[in-house]
Amino acid sequence: MTLYQLSSPSAFYPLTRPLARAFAALAAVCALAGLWIGFVLAPTDATQGEAYRIIFIHVPAAWMSMFIYVVMAFWSIVALAMNTRLSAMMAQALAPTGAWMTFIALWTGALWGRPTWGTYWAWDARMTSELILLFLYFGIIALRNAIDDPRRADRACAVLTIVGAVNIPIIYFSVVWWNTLHQGASVSFTRAPTMATIMVIGMLVMALAAWFYAIATALWRVRAIILERERGAAWVAELPLPSRA
């Protein structure tokens, strides 16, 4: 089967369940391993005490909140350029998971900031741009719900998603461009991490769990979206439904 054939919703639909299940299992394994590393193997932090353990979810969620948006923007560009239905559906399927990740990043950041910086919230460049990201996700979901014709909604959401992508480098570089309360990256590709190795490993394993979780939920959601949007099609009528979700 070629990639071109796979881009049809009817060809992709049967793959969504086995793929989603596999990624959900991987997510569960990584989350358990990450929690084990984060709570059992990783020692208490010398300056932050136990409060630092929040970063095992905060950092992966914050990474995913941005990364999911980049993937959405990619699918939106493909949807506009090639007019493929499945890419627009993929973008649609990612938005709620992206919004959840952004919410978790903001929430855990606030709970980490209070004991560490002395405040739950500040109108700092990193936090404000991350909050704007949450509103972008809400806006994209609301725009989709406001337009009855799915193909028109695809195009409108694709344009909004691509325009909103300007916010991603702003979030990413905010700690470099401005003097922010939020500190710079503790882990980067270009230099040694400023954290103990076991803490970095715990964070990376949790990041893997977040990746797999996002892929699994997006695949489950695209399965529902395909059914919702193709329900008049002959191939849907021939499906042995309902199956166990």
Partner: protein
Amino acid sequence: MMELLSMGGYGFYVWGAYGVTALAVILEVASLRTRIRAAERMAKGQGR
């Protein structure tokens, strides 16, 4: 056990973060399940 709960005095923050994250995952998975079931029912109804 109490040690794990108190998190060196940071229990409220640590468990507040992990608890709400767990709740978010449960809510998202539950709403996905509902959505897929509804979509399957709808597709079946249209098909017959």
